[in-house]
Symmetry: C2
Subunit: 286 residues, 2 copies
Amino acid sequence: MNTLELIKKNLDTFSKSERKVAEAILASPETAIHSSIANLAKTAEVSEPTVNRFCRRLDTKGFPDFKLHLAQSLANGTPYVNRNVNEDDGPEAYTSKIFESTMACLNTAKNGLDTNLINRAVDVLTQANKISFFGLGASSSVAHDALNKFFRFNIPVSCFDDIVMQRMSCINSSEGDVIVLISHTGRTKLLVEVAQLARENDAFVIALTEANSPLAEQSNLVLSLGVPEDTDVYMPMSSRIAQLVLIDVLTTGFTLRRGAKFRDNLKKVKVDIQDSRFEKTGDEEY
Amino acid sequence: MNTLELIKKNLDTFSKSERKVAEAILASPETAIHSSIANLAKTAEVSEPTVNRFCRRLDTKGFPDFKLHLAQSLANGTPYVNRNVNEDDGPEAYTSKIFESTMACLNTAKNGLDTNLINRAVDVLTQANKISFFGLGASSSVAHDALNKFFRFNIPVSCFDDIVMQRMSCINSSEGDVIVLISHTGRTKLLVEVAQLARENDAFVIALTEANSPLAEQSNLVLSLGVPEDTDVYMPMSSRIAQLVLIDVLTTGFTLRRGAKFRDNLKKVKVDIQDSRFEKTGDEEY
DNA sequence: TCTTTTATGTAGTTTTATTTCATTTTCAGT
DNA sequence: ACTGAAAATGAAATAAAACTACATAAAAGA
């Protein structure tokens, strides 16, 4: 948790003098990280040990350690990690908050990912006869995105956001087919059934979902993002973004694994797209 | 500039002993910020003044100040310098690179956005009779995502990734209708034509695209991300992610603008989705 | 009101960082 | 290769900062 936010939140748990310290810091955090303990004590009109005790109350080793934590919470790009949007936020405020919390979410996802599993997934994908991406509701756009990327590899790939088509596709699957199921919570009943159906028909099931969820249990390989669940009505679903980045990672892993010959293929697709453009060089995508 | 990157970049400008310090820090930056100058000097096998001089060479006031800067560059979410994926990167390497460059891209987008324009866009959207999202190719999944979000507001909203349907929809549009066009480069001929068609039929055109592009010129309002264009074959299209976050921002602005009554609507949708789930509380989305 | 607990500050101690200066290394010019 | 200037480095001393122990004051409970 962001130290600055932590101080704000715990303001009322501090003693009288400690609150003075907290207020002095909140008033000008930038100044605080460049002050000595003596200086800050003077600003807050308390004694030095009080400042020190204040630091320890916030689970830091002491004043220097506290400054380190505070500095990190003021660092470029993360002034207000995961701050929720308020009813009275202006465009400036909610825009920063959403961008920043999305970045924080990606960082968490990055740290929580198991690269061995990613490697396994890339393995499985490169050896697949056919790849299918399934998602329902909000996850369907992630599946579409995956389709768009894998389509360029010129391998059999499909994508369905229709439960009936998904089931039909599973029934027709066989060994060597890989089915990638995308679900934020991993608790969508219909999709869990799809996973079962796919496995009954010998397909390999990769799930992009929460660890230990019902869907995860029905899958052969689970890539979980470890992103905290969204709690606020105002807050958008950042986990979806993390899933998309994970798709990017898988695509990249796939490209690298397939080697140089394969990459030429990609270039061809890009060059062709160019022709449908107004002139300007070096562009890709739409 | 990020301190850690700065050290890497300037490695060859340091003297022999100073390089030892640099290498000790790069080897384990997390350890470095928690060490005393004496400790770090011992690890690097140099004297304490050398460490101090090293810090000053990097434009800091001294060792504690340097640690502060270093801590900030290690902070959660800090955008790393865009590094491209290499042919011989392992899963660990390409995963971090992709996540980090995506975060860097979001940070750039955040800084480049004009919140006044966002506010205007939210204005226009809240007053619309009907909203349509159009995208082609890779941008179609962004359009779908937007549909999914705006759909919950219980207002007339549609989404097409088919050029014929897009044109038909434009022809049927009238004053009060808003059409949101999504295109990374803003140079897709067909989509530029769609913009013209929409305006001829009195629709208001919002473009999520590059500034000064042909599409931008045909639109009433342009939201440009200012994200650098993708140059590398291996690199995924991060701008797409930025577009999605921008959709999140617009959705949030929309919700806030519509006020409390409206938010109840959102809750209803969420509660309904719950029922199609395996039991567990507090979940949202799919 | 008295006792106990908690909070706060003073003064001394320890740790940490910086400065000064002597020594070593490097390197250009002979 | 030698010499001397300049730069780099480290030892030791100094200064600064942080921390500890303890004493006193305030607050809370009996």
